[in-house]
């Protein structure tokens, strides 16, 4: 991971800028600080739709005696030894219902990227299982996730709360952030890492990011050591921040452009 890294300080700054815009929209984001430390995370709850198995009781047990209890997730190919009793999702027995989502944005120091944690429950308070979460992913995104299910959405322990959450795995963040950051740098556009990242991963799990975030939330004031670096195959020039050449014209724009990199945002 030599490019597209995000250091923790910049993460916090990006989050605070996102938070300010969220307050102006009443979009519901809050910052939760860990007691006695600088660390924290963004949090938001929202009602959305999801596909849940309607004939389950509080503990997630099927009340339908004829429900199949066989393990048959279609994208599993190498599992011969499991003997767990896992319900099979039959499309016809699940239905669209209102789901309470809770989203957390944390910082991963190992991967130096943000990570999206979320959990979902029915209005009766029953936690959704992984299969239901899968089913709730918009069909447009489902094929992409199905190829490598255990690499993308998995159940993990929340590193600050110790509770079970679902996680979008961070190891592929570089793949989609790299081109965006590079383009923004080439075109002298401001980029708030968290806003850009969230606009890609959020919709996959039902989290909407209104367009105004992308136009209204600035980049944090950056110093050479804290800005996200564009990918490069040659070594970076020592401690110089990217500057637009002084004689080049401003890039053409159809929307109001924020000031070029290197100047203080509003």
């Amino acid at each position: 991971m030599s490019s597209c890294f995000l250091d923790e300080e910049t993460f916090c700054q990006c989050c605070q800028l996102l938070l300010q815009h969220s307050h102006s929209l009443c979009d519901g984001w809050s910052w939760e600080q860990v007691k006695g430390s600088e660390e924290g995370y963004l949090r938001k709850t929202a009602l959305g739709t999801g596909r849940t198995r309607c004939n389950l009781d509080q503990q997630g047990n099927s009340s339908d005696q004829h429900q199949e209890r066989t393990f048959s997730l279609s994208f599993h190919n190498d599992d011969e030894d499991d003997d767990g009793a896992v319900c099979c999702i039959q499309e016809e027995s699940s239905s669209s219902s209102v789901v309470q989502y809770e989203y957390h944005i944390l910082y991963s120091c190992s991967y130096q990227t943000p990570v999206l944690y979320f959990r979902a429950s029915t209005l009766e308070g029953r936690s959704l299982c992984l299969e239901e979460v899968w089913d709730s992913v918009h069909p447009n995104y489902r094929q992409r996730l199905q190829h490598r299910p255990w690499d993308t959405i998995t159940q993990q322990e929340h590193p600050l709360l110790g509770q079970s959450f679902f996680v979008l795995h961070p190891c592929r963040t570089e793949e989609f952030m790299m081109p965006v950051l590079k383009a923004a740098l080439d075109e002298h556009r401001q980029v708030n890492y968290i806003v850009t990242w969230l606009s890609v991963v959020g919709p996959v799990v039902g989290l909407d990011v209104p367009l105004s975030y992308c136009t209204q939330v600035p980049e944090p004031p950056h110093t050479p050591s804290s800005s996200p670096q564009p990918p490069s195959s040659s070594p970076q020039p020592p401690s110089s921040s990217p500057q637009p050449p002084s004689s080049s014209p401003q890039p053409p724009s159809s929307s109001p452009q924020p000031p070029a990199l290197g100047t203080k945002p509003g």
Partner: protein
């Protein structure tokens, strides 16, 4: 003086004698006898308890059986933590055998991860190894390995094959000589007296001026509470694989020799027992 390689073997083959008792409210057709098992410190509960499940299923009806889970003195045990870590954290100052309660109902959804198959355990294990290598080598070593090499690491753990595992794992323990050690040390410090399950931060084994960091240096930096001042009696034990290494031990050495198979140093900080 023991050879360093002996340490690797001692860590791998560590065992904890355990007694599994069925939760009293589970519905059985007849009395369930407790089941005794030696658990490998470096493995995971759901990977090594098939025998436990089969034993208790003999006295239960299929419709009364859901996903198996465990608790110790009322605390649900996280299967995705290595067994040795769970023991050190919750039970190290209690009498052996370790008494674990077995459940087949009322799975604690908020506290425990589901484990429907061994693929899930494998995914967790490999995910930890990848994260550790991201810290040690910017993922270069793990990404250079082939899929079959990754599989060998998992099969070595699953089948308790020390040589098979270390044939691959030794690559993850190498570093450029001129660096003196890994880029960052993969570690987690687990706390019992906090809502927060663990502390994990970036920490270098060798400082920029060539100073070799010790276990004590790590604790002073990320969890100073663990180290008592000279003028007060010791309040906490810092435990790795059931022992308290000297605080002067170089962190790089600990990472190479006392890491779990997932390549992380899992460190427990527990209160000194008051007799």
């Amino acid at each position: 003086m023991a050879d360093d390689k002996d340490v690797l073997r001692d860590v791998w083959f560590g065992r904890i004698p355990t007694c599994f008792t069925l939760y009293q409210d589970e519905i059985t057709e007849r009395e369930a006898e407790p089941f005794y098992l030696l658990l490998p410190r470096v493995s995971f509960l759901t990977l090594v308890t098939d025998k436990v499940k089969k034993h208790f299923l003999k006295v239960m009806k299929a419709e009364d059986v859901e996903e198996m889970w465990f608790d110790f003195e009322g605390t649900p045990l996280k299967w995705h933590y290595p067994i040795g870590l769970l023991f050190d954290l919750h039970a190290s100052n209690t009498a052996l055998p370790w008494s674990i309660t077995v459940h087949f109902k009322n799975f604690p959804e908020r506290d425990l991860l589901h484990c429907p198959s061994n693929s899930v355990i494998e995914a967790h294990f490999m995910s930890s190894i990848k994260e550790a290598d991201a810290l040690k080598h910017k993922s270069q070593v793990i990404n250079d390995m082939q899929k079959k090499d990754h599989k060998q690491l998992w099969m070595g753990l699953q089948n308790d094959k020390f040589d098979q595992f270390w044939a691959m794992n030794r690559k993850l323990m190498e570093y450029p000589t001129e660096e003196g050690g890994f880029r960052y040390i993969p570690f987690r410090i687990y706390l019992t007296m906090s809502d927060r399950p663990f502390i994990q931060k970036l920490f270098r084994p060798i400082s920029s001026d060539g100073y070799t960091h010790t276990l004590g240096d790590l604790l002073k930096e990320v969890y100073p509470v663990a180290i008592s001042r000279d003028d007060e009696s010791k309040r906490y034990q810092v435990v790795i694989h059931g022992i308290e290494p000297l605080l002067e031990t170089p962190l790089q050495w600990l990472s190479e020799h006392l890491s779990h198979p997932d390549n992380f140093l899992h460190i427990s900080v527990i209160p000194v027992p008051s007799d």
